[in-house]
């Protein structure tokens, strides 16, 4: 189990479609870096003027995050991404 600290969030990136709109299959190197992920775990929250406030995202949320944000880590067999909540742009339902 992985437990991020403070305002950090653990994500699993969601791979983009491997076909372009016109149906061409893209080789690995031509695919854009994914910017969407599923929240695996969230930190205990962050401090705002001395008060601890809970994070806005929760486990299981599907989110859009800033490209190149965070740190890639390998936990067991999984490639995960740890980033701060401020790098999460929006929740998509």
């Amino acid at each position: 189990m992985i437990k991020p600290l403070g305002d950090r969030i653990v994500l699993q990136a969601i791979e983009q479609e491997e076909k372009t709109a016109s149906g061409i299959v893209l080789p690995e190197s031509a695919k854009e870096k994914p910017q969407e992920g599923k929240v695996i775990a969230v930190g205990t929250g962050r401090y705002e003027n001395g008060q601890k406030v809970a994070l806005e995202v929760k486990e299981g949320d599907h989110v859009i995050f800033s490209k190149y944000a965070g740190t890639e880590v390998k936990v067991g067999e999984d490639d995960l991404l740890i980033l701060r909540e401020s790098d999460i742009l929006a929740i998509v339902n």
Copy 2:
């Protein structure tokens, strides 16, 4: 549905007129990057000294924003822009 976090706002850019004042139709590359947009969704607000305050813009507002601000994302078929309220300069009615 897309739900921006904190002080973030989701916009749909409004395309500038494709004709110059003198009536010449501009090719795509000569058009200025749009700086106006329609607000699609707003975040839950931001913290000011420990108190959460609501954002000044609301869904449906027509706004002017800082050129090059924010992150372009594709949600379904829509090209959207996610930026912070501080990148919104003014509301135009």
Copy 3:
């Protein structure tokens, strides 16, 4: 109508005299960038330690502002400048 956000102010630049002290008419390119403007609209105020405080300038004020500050926008036929109150140096009466 244009409504600037927070501590932002909308100005209309006041063109400098087109003659030098010795009476020579200056071509467009030799004129200094104007640093004076008339306030068209003011934002709702800014936060100081969690309290919202009103701006010091008001609609109609004639102000001196920092050269190159702000963002030029075109609203209808008007070329306006949107800047933060901290870019306004002084009010001239």
Copy 4:
């Protein structure tokens, strides 16, 4: 009349002596930029943790200021300098 905003101060620079210690008259270009000025007008004050506090300098004070600080403006026939109180180093009596 010129009314600086917030923690800003309007100064009139005091020209340095045009003779060196040995009595040689200096040409314009060899004179050091003046670092002393007379306070013409002071802003309404600045915020410290949400409380507005008055400035330490007042109209008529003779001050030493940081070289190259501030913005030179021409108001009517006067060349003035607008700077922040933090650029004022000391009051000289």
Copy 5:
């Protein structure tokens, strides 16, 4: 005994496996810098708006930390790493 100050943490890096997935033994220079460590000692805490708050990690925790963060020190025979809690990304159980 080593007692880190404030929000600092003393770690002992955990060496990565010396074999790749396919069983090849890696020479020293081809191994990635370890990003996992065991907490040896934690500081007394940090200040949040004037209140001292305890750290989230505790002695014995297995943590993931930011690559290149902190300072390597040699205490007796041990090579240790001293870093700030903000450089700890997550606790792994």
Copy 6:
């Protein structure tokens, strides 16, 4: 009289010995910039979270300061240095 503002301090530098340990008289250019001075005047204090607190150094103190800190000014015949209290490292008795 010179009255520094806020957290500023006026110093008179104390010239270092002009002989090296071995008794060689140093030419002007080989002498290190002095880092010690005598406090001539102190400002009214600085703000800490909205409360004004007095400075730690007082007139007449012999202090060590950061090399190259502050601004050199000439007041009458005296070469003085104006710096912030944070550039004062220690008081030497």
Copy 7:
């Protein structure tokens, strides 16, 4: 006597062993800059949100500090180092 200001600390560096593990005596230039020191004097404390808090280290402590931190000063015959408490990483007993 030397009295550091605020959150500053005066250290005397502790010279590293002049022999390597294998017993080779190192010439001066091959020795690493010492990162350990003995606390000679501590400042009066620092402000946290308007409250003055005492420093964590005290006179006589043996500490590890950030390489290249602080300012080297000569007081009488002693070569001392003045640094901020935030440059002290840990106390070693």
